[in-house]
């Protein structure tokens, strides 16, 4: 055991004798978590205090449909409607041109007589219904000059993401449904009043009947809404922890290049002791990194008007998961450092493989949004195991028992990678043979 302590002391002394390296190790992950969380929060969020997306709006209708669309889009708080440039009202052609040249991503054009055409179509519908009830009313068809289709034009920039495009179309279809429903209700009401004047029916205002309530079942805190912070901070914290691979592989290769490893091969000490000493020191580094990133999520993000990270109260489970996640990263780093012959090989492979594992593991695109085989592949990424565990603790209020599968997998990954590294080193000494 004292050999392990001696090796740990050696690694610790080497680490702390590089103050610039230490600052980078601890400061950069915090900066990364804050910056990337901010980028994702302000770039992707659809819940925002200020309108984010400018929409060109051309209301040639100037009647109920056009006006209600304009009112509805303005009240949505997601869009900023632009109806004129330099006090000149937009036209269909100018709006189309601005989307074509990429200045704006969306333009909505309500053509002339849209409301009139809609009312005509509804009157025809009401007439058919009344006729079927043996109450035809030819007056309702007065003024119905055509029953051409009612078309609202929406121009999209091809660069607009599908997800946003679909969200916008859903919103406009919802407005349209409400407008149509209201007009249908009002038209029917009007006809019934005409048919039965004796009843002196009151004018009833159309109101939406069904409302949607969002519920996020969470044992962490009542009414805890999952913000981008809750997703981003664990994602980027795990990503940063796995980047410990870079300094760790550098330490291993440097020891080989400086000749110290050659000397160690002639000394009665096992590779496992040498590796575990590195694991011990860098585990401390990872744990401190994780702690700093969580603190950044809790205290620093609100300074930039972002929601604070909620971690719940299961600190023991969080600590256990942080430790095994770190161990998984360290085992991987030791394996890469052992297999790589040069710093360039280790740095390039280490960095790129972490990015791949992060992408595979759902740190950027959630796993549930992935298709087919990718969903299955995601389950093989240790970053996915760590991410799932942290989300379970932060968002779903789960306990240490619930995350035992993830803890087990991460520890097993560490055990396997470090064992492979030790066996490889024993069988293939780090000198040309």
């Amino acid at each position: 055991m004292y050999k392990l302590f001696a090796a740990f002391r050696k690694e610790w002394l080497i680490l702390i004798r590089d103050p610039a390296g230490l600052i980078v190790l601890f400061l950069m992950p915090m900066v990364m978590v804050v910056v990337l969380s901010m980028v994702q929060e302000f770039g992707w969020s659809t819940i925002s205090k200020e309108p984010q997306v400018p929409v060109l709006f051309v209301n040639c209708d100037n009647d109920s449909v056009g006006n209600k669309f304009q009112q509805g889009l303005s009240e949505a708080k997601i869009f900023t409607l632009i109806t004129q440039f330099d006090s000149i009202p937009l036209t269909k052609e100018t709006a189309r041109q601005k989307v074509l040249d990429g200045s704006y991503q969306i333009a909505v054009v309500i053509p002339e007589q849209t409301s009139e055409r809609l009312r005509a179509k509804i009157r025809l519908l009401v007439n058919k219904t009344m006729t079927s009830l043996m109450m035809p009313n030819q007056d309702i068809l007065a003024g119905v000059t055509n029953n051409d289709s009612v078309e609202i034009l929406i121009y999209f920039d091809p660069a607009v993401r599908n997800s946003f495009r679909n969200a916008f179309l859903s919103a406009t279809k919802e407005f349209n449904s409400r407008i149509e429903s209201r007009i249908i209700f009002e038209t029917f009401q009007e006809e019934l009043r005409k048919l039965f004047p004796k009843f002196n029916m009151p004018i009833i205002d159309y109101q939406q009947s069904v409302y949607f309530t969002e519920i996020f079942p969470s044992g962490v805190k009542e009414e805890l809404l999952p913000s981008t912070t809750q997703h981003n901070v664990p994602s980027w914290a795990i990503f940063a922890m796995f980047f410990i691979v870079i300094p760790l592989t550098s330490s291993i290769i440097k020891e080989r290049e400086e000749g110290s490893l050659i000397r160690l091969m002639t000394i009665p000490v096992s590779y496992m002791t040498i590796f575990m000493a590195k694991v011990g020191v860098y585990l401390l580094v990872c744990f401190i990194q994780f702690g700093l990133m969580v603190l950044a999520g809790i205290y620093l993000l609100p300074v930039f008007n972002m929601p604070s990270l909620e971690v719940g109260s299961n600190y023991f489970a969080i600590a256990v998961l942080a430790i095994v996640s770190s161990l998984a990263a360290l085992g991987y780093g030791i394996l890469i450092g052992t297999l790589s012959k040069t710093h360039q090989q280790a740095a390039a492979f280490g960095a790129v493989s972490i990015v791949i594992l992060a992408a595979m593991g759902g740190l950027w695109v959630p796993v549930y949004l992935m298709g087919g085989i990718m969903k299955h592949i995601a389950t093989f990424s240790p970053l996915n195991w760590a991410h799932t565990g942290f989300l379970d603790l932060f968002l779903r209020g789960k306990t240490i028992l619930d995350i035992l599968p993830e803890v087990g997998k991460l520890f097993a990954f560490f055990a396997v990678t470090i064992s492979i590294a030790a066996i490889y080193r024993k069988l293939k000494p780090p000198i040309s043979t």
């Binding site: 050696k10 004798r17 002639t266």
Partner: protein, 250 residues
């Protein structure tokens, strides 16, 4: 000198991966206790390969090696306790102090506490490094690094000490201190296997030398006796050049 062979080498052969010609070609020799045995040879002769095999860095392709009765293949871990290796490259941690390096390597040999401290202090004084022990190694001169490099292989008082070009690239004073120390070490019963390009050094220091070329031993014996047997050569360097040739070996 006793007749007890502490190192027995029989038909030692080593092929590097992909090589058609062996780096060590069927070498057999005995090295006796208390000897300072010099392995001399031009570049690529097989000196470092021989030392590497004997010190257990990699196994031989063929042949048998025993050190103090222990087989190098099956008893490798036990052998590590009785051998010390001073590699050709300075194998120290540059950001640690000389003292920290020695404490670490001493701990790896199983030494600790008072015993380790006393040995480190003894060697630091012996090699004139006591004032520099707490300075980091990257600030040492070449001679100082070589001296610490040597001490790191001696702390556990090995029975056999392998030195691969221990005095290359250092000042005369440092070289002198090292060579004097090796003579004293021999007197304590340590067997020393030593490679060098410095023929004059080998002639003065070694009790026996083996001249290796292309993986084979082409001459072996006490330097004085070898020169007596080859009177046309005035010194070991001339003998060496006479046996291996004057062509450059790259």
């Amino acid at each position: 000198m006793t007749e007890e062979a502490i190192i027995g080498i029989r038909d030692l052969t080593k092929y590097y991966k992909g090589a058609e010609v062996p780096a060590i070609d069927h070498i057999s020799l005995d090295i006796f206790k208390d000897e300072i045995f010099g392995l001399l040879g031009p570049n690529g002769a097989g000196k470092t390969t021989t030392i590497s095999v004997l010190s257990g860095l990699f196994p031989p392709t063929k042949g048998e090696v025993t050190i103090d009765g222990l087989d190098i293949r099956s008893d490798h871990d036990r052998i590590k306790y009785i051998i010390g290796v001073v590699p050709q490259e300075v194998a120290l941690y540059p950001t640690l102090t000389g003292l920290e390096n020695l404490q670490f390597f001493g701990n790896m040999y199983g030494l600790k506490g008072k015993i380790l401290k006393e040995r480190i202090d003894e060697y630091l004084v012996r090699f004139g490094l006591e004032k520099f022990a707490r300075k980091i190694v990257s600030n040492y001169s070449g001679g100082m690094k070589r001296r610490v490099n040597l001490i790191a292989g001696l702390l556990h008082k090995p029975k056999v000490l392998f030195l691969d070009e221990p005095t290359v690239g250092i000042d005369v004073q440092s070289r002198n201190v090292i060579l004097e120390f090796l003579r004293e070490l021999r007197e304590t019963g340590t067997t020393i296997i030593y490679t060098s390009h410095y023929m004059e050094e080998a002639e003065k220091l070694c009790t026996r030398v083996a001249i290796i070329d292309s993986g084979k031993i082409i001459a072996i014996g006490n330097p004085k006796i070898l020169l007596e047997e080859n009177p046309e050569f005035k010194n070991l360097e001339n003998l060496f050049l006479g046996l291996t040739g004057k062509d450059l070996r790259d």
